[in-house]
Symmetry: C2
Subunit: 393 residues, 2 copies
């Protein structure tokens, strides 16, 4: 919102034809890092402009996925709209789209067309399932990838076996981070080699890669597969106290000794089941049940103070309302408030990584639909009248 | 495993002092993209070498978080070990560590020391909670960040309100992706400006930023806060069929019409509650219950074929065993098999993003502890005898 030092991606221009979440969140991260992201929207705008809670016509998800960008409206179904985009392409370093496979070519903006206009461009295609195969033609929503990637099965109810979704859109946002890193790597490579290239990313692949290191341990060794849910170590370490929920985890011997001291259960140190870290994993169910019984007897803050003193990892389970008020979040300045000219005062999470020399920062609030059509097209020589003619159509 | 074209980060050397997940998964992604990642391990090795299922001494999580790297053992508590690391630093472009705040300075490897040896290095510090504040001193495990970031509260049981963990380590892996992108952006910036810098990342900040666009919609507009759980749209779209679970989502009018046709419930199209997308959201509970009743009557494959024909987004809910056999995963070649000299044949998810000119690929299997001590230290002039003397201590 205020002028400041350049971000690490200063000087890079991104033509962003993506909509919904996976593409826009990726380019927002790059925009916060200084890239000039031009969001090209159809006359009706990105669908996210209409989804979920809103104020003055701006939805919360839109403002949190499209800040630091400029918005240009172009109807790419008209020859004038397409021609205007083609005049922008030579000014761009990156071209990103997340239409279903085949659509961008039918629109007349396939890689060959774009590369003819800018030979060293990074051309990026984000898809749901990949470019070929039985699912390539399908529409994708986040739950579909949760189901296909194994995430819903990882989250299954332990008693009934019924699969369960994670209630935030993990595949969309994981794809966004994976795409942002890949685009940045391609930009680095172009800087050294002078060559652009095509970067393709499927949400399904991004999720399987994301889950693999810990979620797929049972299937890693060929010929020695273990039922995946048995190989999974993660426990639901949530405990009820007299006045709310906390999490406590004691993995090492020192942490276990600390926990037994805090709980005043020194006799557990002599229990054969719990003498080693391996034993404590095998007998986790009993151990967690016994721990839970004791933790019910005092207030959460009381336990947390004692646990912290003994070096046992612990935290309160915060509601989202509590997260934004938490002292560590305040010290980190994780959440910023900005004035949006139309939507009013808004909260945003700042870019997570802090760069000492080239800070990432929120550059400007999310744009109104076509807010920068005149400005951006003016920069490449369109007159105000020409822009108005384009936009009014 | 085989020679091939260079990756986008070819020519970059990373000195990686991280352990556990968030650091190692970040540098693995960069190693697959061609960076020469030297994993510096203490004589006991990264703790992940001992956690979870293993074969021939290699744990599944270790091989899936440390492939494409070389391993050097150095005891940084000895002056000889520290001196050897300092001879490596001038050869490195990136130095990454995820010790608790203050520890790296106590080890004698703070930013000033490292930068004196290589002025343009990217120095990266990954922490759990940040460098100052009430949590900075605490040990961090993934569940602690799930509790503090609001993720456990997002996943709370809708009936009882009891918070619930997501059973895969979302904060660790989200931090890894965020760190990998930030390191890549800093490398890009150095390429243009010649300057290195310090990149700092807290897991807590990475998670809040990740959750924000969709998980924090109720708290985005200052002065118009909505109870966070009410503002959350995501439904648990899992349905039981006669022979298993599927997911089905009908958002647009066309998809709703398609769903009603497949379910042979054309009368639902006249139901006032479901006539608009907004109405279908408001009346989601009834709509999903009614849909669920019908879906129970046939097999999953039968429904999926019909739903696909009508353009309704859908998928089977796959177990992890089914994921690795699924036709779309096969077509995408998402999962690769490699021969590990010691651990045998292993499955890995390939790097998700595909680069047309500079392919990312699995370069080599995860290293044994200190497998490359001689090779790496030899490259900077240590004799075999000197390396043996270092390692034997």
């Amino acid at each position: 919102m205020t002028p400041g030092p350049d971000g690490p991606l200063e000087g890079i221009r991104i033509l962003d034809l993506t909509s919904m979440i996976s593409g826009p969140v990726a380019t927002m991260l790059l925009a916060d890092q200084g890239a000039d992201v031009i969001k090209v929207e159809p006359p009706g705008g990105d669908l996210v402009r209409a989804l979920g809670p809103n104020r003055a016509g701006f939805t919360a998800t839109f403002v949190s996925s499209n800040r630091s960008k400029r918005s240009v409206v172009l109807d790419l179904k008209t020859s004038d709209g397409l021609a205007a985009l083609k005049r922008l392409i030579p000014t761009a370093d990156v071209f990103v789209q997340n239409f279903r496979p085949g659509a961008i070519e039918r629109m007349g903006l396939g890689e060959d067309v774009v590369r003819a206009l800018r030979s060293d461009i990074i051309y990026v295609s984000i898809s749901g399932f990949g470019e070929t195969g039985p699912y390539a033609h399908k529409r994708v929503y986040d739950p579909v990838i949760q189901a296909l990637s194994g995430l819903a099965s990882i989250q299954a109810d332990r008693d009934t076996g019924r699969p369960r979704m994670v209630r935030t859109i993990i595949p969309d946002k994981t794809t966004a981070l994976t795409a942002a890193q890949a685009i940045t790597a391609a930009l680095f490579s172009r800087e050294r080699t002078g060559r652009g290239q095509h970067v393709k990313l499927a949400m399904l692949d991004a999720m399987v890669a994301y889950l693999w290191p810990e979620g797929m341990t049972g299937l890693t060794f060929v010929g020695r597969e273990v039922h995946a849910s048995r190989a999974q170590l993660a426990q639901d370490l949530i405990f009820e106290t007299a006045d709310g929920y906390i999490t406590v985890g004691a993995v090492s011997d020192a942490e276990w000794r600390g926990l037994c001291a805090v709980l005043e259960r020194s006799e557990w140190l002599d229990d054969e089941r719990f003498k080693t870290a391996a034993g404590r994993v095998i007998n986790a169910a009993e151990r967690l049940a016994m721990t839970g019984m004791v933790l019910k007897q005092r207030d959460g803050a009381d336990w947390l103070e004692r646990l912290d003193r003994e070096g046992v990892p612990c935290a309160p389970v915060l509601s989202r309302e509590q997260v934004i008020e938490h002292e560590q979040i305040r010290v980190n300045a994780t959440i910023e408030e900005h004035d949006h000219a139309i939507a009013g005062r808004i909260r945003q999470a700042r870019p997570a990584a802090r760069f000492s020399a080239t800070p990432a920062r929120i550059r400007r609030p999310a744009p109104a639909l076509g807010e920068h059509s005149r400005e951006v097209l003016g920069e490449i020589g369109f007159t105000a009248a020409e822009v108005d003619a384009l936009v009014s159509r």
